[in-house]
Symmetry: C2
Subunit: 418 residues, 2 copies
């Protein structure tokens, strides 16, 4: 171990192979045949994942605090422990057919930062913490980003506790079952600055051949459910002119969801991911089609404009066809710009380390979005192969994993002070 | 009772209220809250329905024969029993949320013809039979029109026996369970002429304010499964230009299915009734969409032309978008023209009885389609309210129920000879 006095902070680098090994070790819990991970939030596997991470944290000398929604804070003391900690983190739960990196990388990158500081005996002025947030994915319990959302008082602890999975099990019971209901009130834990390192989950960095995405903010999201009501009828005896075919009207509107996104380039995005046809029988004209609409853009004004255009189109389509079209808002996530100090700290670190980088936006929600309401926050993106995530074949290279963590190290050191 | 000598055949009319009462009595078996019937083929309820109908047949003096696939033939002897029988019939199984009339009407109309002949002591030259065919609906076991299909040797008895429902139960076991495996080889039963009375299951007669549809034939049907393969990706971080959205390509092709039908008026029909999206998650760009295509037209040449146009369009769309599109033929039902003698017998009867009538086509398959391969066949349609069928609110008025049965009576008498 170096002594603190001898450390050249600018030349400090994390231990890439150790971080990679930790990622691979954690990925064994819930490992799937195709190389992915199924570690749904608050399952026994999630408990095992949390236990491994907290064991590693204690081995690295960190103290672990769990709050009432199961968020974990793993603390390395600073020289001045009255300062609010510089926090990094993410989540260890996965999608049902998730990969090894989504979320897990952000938590283990934080642990690797701490291990590196320990290796070199580096003290920081402010304490440093690594957080893991409960149920970021939302695959088993809604809402998504549950732990950070309760922490940021976006919704109440009671609301989260009563969420049920498809078997009727509650968040509260499942938290208790795996032993992760802590004492601390969510939100009472101080946060000075928050960083989150994450795979991009999209193809932009790879497409631009860049190592680091300096994340400027997170796109605003509007989720709608759309229901087109027609009239079920036998596909054979009903001539075309006498039909009320809900699927045909839905198909028309589904195409407008993409058209509106294309009209709002570069950040406009429109997706119909879920379609339910009733009665969904080969020889019955659909009487009802329900589908999801997901609209995103860089500002709330832009995404609201997109939603207005879809609604106006739907109203005209309904008038033309005579079929009622109901569009209901399901969820709304505001666009969130990150803090200039954090964006700049990430950009400076990438520059100093010699990594190719570019400004990026996050199209997906992350726990950092809620943290940004509480403290200066920022994110670091690294490429993932073919932009694929939420998939067992999700992959990020060891070089990029290392690069993102080095950027995190230097951004955190800038904010924590050495 | 009149004596045979005194009967004025032209003035013979069926007993409408009796037919209606029988329909309502049979509809009690499997009655549903909204007024419909759920009497899936080869369930215990189907057994009860068959038992009631055969009890009524025996009470009317008919002899009952069951064949090995559970088809029933209820025979009224003629003066010359070496002549092949003039047969009418349909089915007593229903859709899961079916109505009181589909199929059931055709069987009970046949029984009412016999009861009327009995009332008036009318003898016929050829014997008269009322048939019920096993599993016309195909809701529980495929293929549809199973009993008549085995009878017409469209597929084998063994093939039908091994069909399984969603619980893995087989047709053979379920036939045995309700006691309807008979001795007779399917197809060995002679048929001289076949008529089937049925609700139209479409809106054309009502739209034209006609009482009787003189059915000319049944549309040719082609069923396809279409699969569009894209690439699953997170709906947030994936810019529009880098997407392979299977749902968007599917929505485009789904609209072409209707467009091709409109180009092939008046009898062209195109329906997408079933859509499955994978993974069907709100915030995942669909990686695969599978949907059904149902094409129909009055001749096989026309329906094949429609299929070619859909395939050509799909090939161009695939080339333009880069997404593979697979179109596989699932089933093909040839167009079937009915026999001129039967069509004319129906038209003459309707005319003689003073019922408004029009030529009609059947867009749906019926057991009569398979019978038309074996013997001169024809169908009689009556209106159903709003064209609705395969639905609990399916309805036909007592006046139309009576009219269709009177047409059947006179068409059968013309063919059977008095």
């Amino acid at each position: 171990m170096d002594t603190a006095a001898s450390v050249d902070i600018d030349n400090l680098r994390i231990n890439g192979p150790r971080l990679w090994d930790s990622l691979m070790e954690l990925a064994k819990i819930g490992a799937m045949p195709k190389g992915g991970v199924c570690r749904l939030t608050l399952t026994e596997l999630d408990g095992q994942g949390r236990n491994l991470v907290t064991r590693w944290a204690r081995e690295a000398g960190l103290t672990v605090t769990i709050d009432k929604i199961g968020n974990g804070f793993m603390r390395r003391a600073g020289r001045n422990n009255s300062l609010p900690p510089i926090v990094t983190g993410s989540h260890v739960d996965t999608q049902p057919t998730g990969g090894k990196f989504d979320g897990n990388y952000g938590v283990l990158a934080g642990l690797e930062v701490v291990r590196t500081l320990n290796d070199h005996g580096v003290e920081t002025e402010a304490p440093i913490e690594v957080a893991f947030w409960t149920n970021e994915e939302g695959s088993r319990f809604v809402p998504v980003m549950m732990g950070s959302g309760v922490f940021a008082k976006v919704f109440t602890l009671e609301h989260a506790y009563h969420a049920t999975d498809t078997e009727g099990k509650t968040v509260k019971d499942e938290l208790a079952h795996i032993g992760y209901i802590g004492e601390q009130e969510p939100g009472e834990h101080p946060i000075g600055t928050y960083f989150e390192t994450h795979i991009e989950q999209g193809p932009v960095l790879e497409d631009n051949d860049k190592t680091i995405g300096v994340v400027q903010g997170v796109l605003g999201i509007r989720w709608f459910d759309c229901t087109v009501t027609g009239m079920e009828a036998h596909a054979g005896p009903t001539p075309m002119a006498l039909r009320k075919d809900a699927m045909q009207v839905a198909a028309n509107l589904i195409q407008e969801v993409v058209a509106v996104a294309l009209r709002h380039a570069p950040h406009g995005r429109g997706t119909v991911g879920m379609v339910q046809v009733h009665p969904n029988s080969r020889n019955v004209i659909p009487g009802r089609v329900k589908f999801s609409i997901d609209l995103r853009n860089a500002t709330d004004a832009l995404v609201d404009q997109m939603a207005d255009e879809v609604k106006t189109y739907a109203a005209k389509l309904s008038q033309k066809t005579g079929l009622p079209i109901l569009i209901e808002l399901v969820s709304s996530y505001p666009a969130q710009a990150f803090h200039a100090d954090c964006i700049n700290a990430v950009a400076r670190a990438a520059q100093k380390l010699g990594y190719s980088n570019m400004p990026a936006v996050s199209g997906a929600g992350h726990d950092a979005v809620y943290m940004a309401r509480l403290a200066p926050s920022g994110m670091i993106f690294i490429p993932c192969k073919d932009g694929i995530s939420h998939n067992e074949i999700e992959y990020a290279s060891p070089e990029h994993i290392t690069a993102g963590c080095n950027v995190l190290l230097h951004a955190m050191l800038e904010r924590a002070g050495t």
